[in-house]
């Protein structure tokens, strides 16, 4: 058994290393695709620095005491009941440090959650959570929710890059939580209640076909890449000897031509001409919502504005069941959810 244990130790060290050495992220933090997410990471790192200092100070003192004040023959402990100066010092200094963390946190919180961006000038998407799917809805050409031209999707959120997107969230059954890890966004979906989040995605997800690894790129970088928009499949992962799953993309069976985007122009090319594949981000449910909770996965497809506009025009109609679902759980119950904020 102990040999096996060592193997697990080794495996987990391997799991650790790429995280610690991560270029953009810190430690195990996954890559980040929003400006607001970068600010959260920055705050996290600032607190981390302070906490490490406090950790070293306190645990160091503990070890020091254990070593230098261990029992020795003939020694007597100091009979000391306390010291008011010390009490004041170690109340005031931590209070100042905590006050600093509070100051940083409250200004970022105000920016993220209290100052709402205007719904008039930004893209608004509605999100209806249910056991165990994410439903999304766009207002369609008339710009009004709850009308027949609305565009609906399931488990796939399309958004344009470099734009602020406001997501209006509710649930039709139990509480769920919309979690978009790369954006550092999380917001519960509560039945009967409308909650809102916004995010400003400025990185696009692509899959490097040469390395078979995901990458995050800016719009400028993306424009210089040959990215296949379709015609590739993410294959079932293969479990490697370290217990990790190896993911890879391959052209769909029998496909001859795939749409490849370069510099905003889309051309049909043979699959081997593409260097990258558009790779959506993952979203998850973070609030226990029933037996299917672990599989309540969705995706965020980040597109150029032109591709997004085009998608919105041609998105398939999901049919009457979905229209009815939205109508029953959202429009007829809470018509006020569809109204933009002033």
């Amino acid at each position: 058994m102990s040999k096996r244990f060592l193997r697990f130790c080794a495996a987990s060290v391997f799991a650790l290393l790429p995280g610690l050495a991560g270029a953009e992220g810190f430690g195990f933090l996954p890559p980040v695709c929003t400006q607001s997410g970068r600010q959260i990471d920055h705050l996290y790192l600032t607190i981390f620095g302070i906490v490490v200092a406090l950790f070293v100070l306190t645990e160091g003192t503990l070890l020091f005491c254990v070593f230098f004040f261990r029992q020795r023959k003939g020694r007597k402990a100091w009979s000391m009941h306390g010291n008011n100066v010390a009490e004041v010092v170690w109340t005031i200094i931590p209070a100042l440090i905590l006050g600093y963390i509070l100051y940083l946190s409250s200004s970022l919180w105000t920016k993220l959650r209290i100052d709402e961006p205007s719904e008039k000038s930004n893209l608004v998407v509605e999100c209806l959570a249910e056991q165990f799917d994410w439903n999304f809805r766009y207002p369609g050409p008339d710009g009004v929710f709850g009308t027949p031209d609305d565009v609906m999707t399931v488990n796939e959120l399309h958004i344009p890059v470099d734009r602020t997107v406001i997501l209006k969230i509710s649930s039709k059954d139990v509480i769920h939580s919309f979690f978009f890890p790369y954006a550092r966004v999380k917001q519960d979906a509560v039945p009967g209640l409308l909650t809102k989040v916004w995010f400003d995605v400025d990185r696009m997800g692509v899959w490097n076909l040469a390395t078979q690894k995901p990458e995050l790129v800016t719009l400028d970088q993306y424009n210089g890449m040959k990215v296949a928009l379709d015609g590739f499949d993410l294959k079932d992962p293969v479990v490697n000897p370290d217990g990790l799953r190896d993911y890879s993309y391959a052209p769909s069976a029998g496909i001859k031509q795939v749409p490849v985007e370069l510099d905003g122009k889309i051309t049909q090319l043979p699959p081997d001409q593409a260097a990258y594949v558009a790779h959506p981000y993952e979203i998850a449910c973070a609030q226990l919502c029933g037996p299917g909770h672990f599989a309540m996965e969705g995706h965020v497809v980040v597109q150029t504005q032109a591709d997004f506009d085009n998608w919105l025009k041609t998105a398939p109609d999901l049919g009457p069941t979905f229209r009815q679902k939205w109508n029953e759980a959202w429009d007829s119950q809470h018509p006020e959810f569809n109204k933009p904020n002033p």
């Binding site: 995280g19 059954d173 509560v190 299917g292």
Partner: protein, 608 residues
């Protein structure tokens, strides 16, 4: 009654145990060990029952970890026996429903049936009367009732495992609507039974709290002023305030949820709820976040119920083995009291992304950040206690040192989550799991182990086996950290909690190895506890006979024989000085002096 003679009167009130007269010790087995009014027996009943439940709770955790490391792989041995029963599917693997059941019941058992009864019911009952120099608690019958309510609560809890669709499976927090509508949640009758169990356990906890408040306020021996109370008793006093003021909220919430489930009211169900394709029958007019407010208004104070008494235990042990007075007694009491004050206004930090108004989130962030302050002050004072000591490293001390260092880690991770923007990301991930296990296991359970070996002589009249206790400490410390420290990494990587498997997510892919590592560490951690189980029962019968005061302590329990006799104090004690006069001038050649040793003529006892 006629035999109203021997007992003295205290400064403030007559002795307990029936208003100032001694009854002889009951001779029947039933009155002596089952329906006993003796606080020591009640304490031991609590201690042993809750330790048994700890084995149950721990066993559930072992199964949880199997599923996380080896999702949907049949569980060796156990899964084979129990195919198709409890949490297992027909192939002997844990089902997603079973996983949720394991998770919810692990949390509920550990909190309501292990830690609270263990540190309040067990240590509190046994030690408070001894610490204050009383014969018993103020209401001995209420005390017995409180234990038996707790025992009764375990019946529906245990029964729930056997009913159709199993026990509770909506998290230990039971958020509605998941916990509320039959069609939405995986469990049915089981969850109602568990709510009844929580209700009863809460009731038991309130009775215990009332009893402690009155006992500490009224039954202190002459000379035992508030400023001379041992810190453990102070901590129990403040915990009792929490129990009396917060637990009724749990009762209210549980009643509402039971009403929703059984009588189809809709306290927590808004209008127009659709489960699957159909409208939920009794939905209308309720508010799901109401439950979260009620629950956390109780459960945040409850997490302090889980730690305050053990802060007291740690203080007692640290001072005794440093041979030095507690540093900053007053600061310790003030910080306990401010934790209590602030503890009532921080509950919203569990709800930062729940949909609660973000302005409220801001307010809760302020209070939460500042609750770290008294916790910090306590840490600094513990370090001050060690500073300049003459430290002995017996097993209780090793556990108390473990307590401080694990508490530091758990407290520091709390700061990240108290910062609302960081908590947007960390909420509902393994970061939370790491945080509270550092506190509830790393700190609380460590102090419990330390406390058991410290007061074992008083409990059972014998010493625990020292080498075994030290081995247990070492293995527990190592495997505890190997199990729970990497959970910070999981949380940092965004790994959600309460997830039957993470294999659906590509962004969690690289964590599979880490999860396997954690699982094996957890198994070694679990196995290490068997050393304790053996040592506990073996020492109870075969341990070395203990002397009166094996650790040279000052507080009143160390003036009594080991084990403590039926009426505790033959002669009612008189207290002359504070509890921590180690190495004082008055102590002379020894480095300790008992609270009840009369002062040497010509020498004034220290004021403290």
């Amino acid at each position: 009654m006629s035999e109203q003679t021997i007992s003295g009167t205290t400064a403030e009130a007559p002795h307990a145990g029936g208003g100032g007269h001694h009854h002889p010790q009951p001779t029947s087995f039933f009155r002596r060990y089952v329906w006993s009014y003796d606080h020591k027996v009640v304490g031991k009943q609590y201690l042993i029952t809750s330790l048994c439940f700890m084995l149950l709770g721990g066993g559930l955790a072992m199964l949880l970890r199997w599923q996380i490391a080896y999702p949907f792989v049949p569980v060796p041995f156990i899964g084979h026996w129990l195919k198709g029963m409890f949490f297992f599917g027909n192939n002997g693997a844990i089902t997603p429903e079973g996983y949720l059941e394991l998770g919810a019941m692990h949390g509920l058992v550990m909190i309501f049936f292990v830690v609270i009864p263990l540190i309040v019911g067990g240590f509190g009952n046994f030690l408070i009367p001894l610490h204050i120099g009383a014969e018993d608690v103020s209401f001995p019958m209420l005390n017995a009732l409180s234990y038996w309510l707790y025992a009764a609560a375990s019946v529906p809890m245990l029964l729930s495992f056997f009913v159709d669709k199993g026990a509770a499976a909506a998290g230990w927090t039971n958020y509605p609507p998941l916990s509320d509508i039959a069609g939405a949640s995986p469990s049915s009758l089981g969850l109602t039974l568990v709510l009844v169990a929580i209700y009863l356990a809460g009731f038991s906890s309130i009775l215990g709290g009332v009893n402690f408040l009155v006992t500490i306020a009224k039954l202190r021996a002459p000379g035992m002023t508030w400023g001379r109370l041992p810190l453990l008793t102070w901590a129990q006093f403040i915990t009792a305030v929490f129990q009396c003021l917060a637990t009724p909220m749990l009762a209210a919430g549980a009643s509402m949820l039971i009403f929703d489930r059984v009588f189809h009211t809709s306290f927590f169900l808004p209008s127009g709820l659709m489960v699957g394709g159909a409208a939920a029958a009794n939905s209308g007019g309720g508010y799901p976040l109401l439950w979260q407010h009620i629950f956390w208004f109780y459960a945040h104070p409850a997490v302090y119920i889980l730690i305050l008494p053990t802060m007291g235990i740690a203080s007692e042990i640290l001072t005794t083995f440093s041979r030095k007075p507690v540093f900053g007694y007053k600061a310790m009491v003030i910080s306990l009291a401010s934790i209590m004050g602030l503890g009532f206004i921080v509950w919203g930090h569990h709800m930062f992304v729940s949909g609660m108004n973000p302005m409220l989130g801001m307010a809760f962030m302020v209070s939460t950040i500042f609750i770290a302050l008294p916790s910090g002050v306590k840490v600094f004072n513990w370090l001050g206690t060690l500073w300049g000591g003459n430290i002995r490293f017996d097993s209780p001390m090793l556990f108390a040192l473990g307590f401080i260092s694990m508490f530091i880690i758990g407290g520091l991770s709390g700061i990240f989550m108290a910062s609302t923007p960081a908590d947007i990301y960390l909420h509902d991930t393994y970061y939370i799991i790491a945080h509270f296990h550092y506190i509830v296991f790393g700190a609380t359970i460590f102090a419990v182990f330390g406390g058991i070996s410290f007061w074992f002589p008083k409990f059972f009249g014998r010493m625990m086996n020292e080498p075994l206790a030290k081995l247990h400490w070492l293995l527990t410390l190592v495997f505890f950290n190997l199990t729970f420290f990497p959970m910070h990494f999981l949380g940092e990587a965004g790994h959600m909690r309460r997830l039957a498997t993470s294999t659906d997510y590509e962004f969690l892919n690289s964590l599979a190895g880490l999860n396997v590592f954690i699982t094996w560490s957890a198994y070694y951690l679990g196995l290490s506890q068997l050393i304790f189980v053996f040592n506990f029962f073996h020492s109870m019968f075969y341990g070395k006979k203990a002397t009166e005061n094996p650790w040279q302590g000052n507080t009143l329990e160390w003036t009594l024989p080991s084990p403590v006799p039926y009426y505790n104090f033959d002669v009612p004690p008189v207290v002359y000085r504070g509890p921590y006069e180690y190495s004082s001038e008055e102590a002379g050649d020894k480095d300790w002096i008992s609270q009840s040793t009369p002062p040497v003529p010509g020498m004034t006892p220290a004021k403290h």
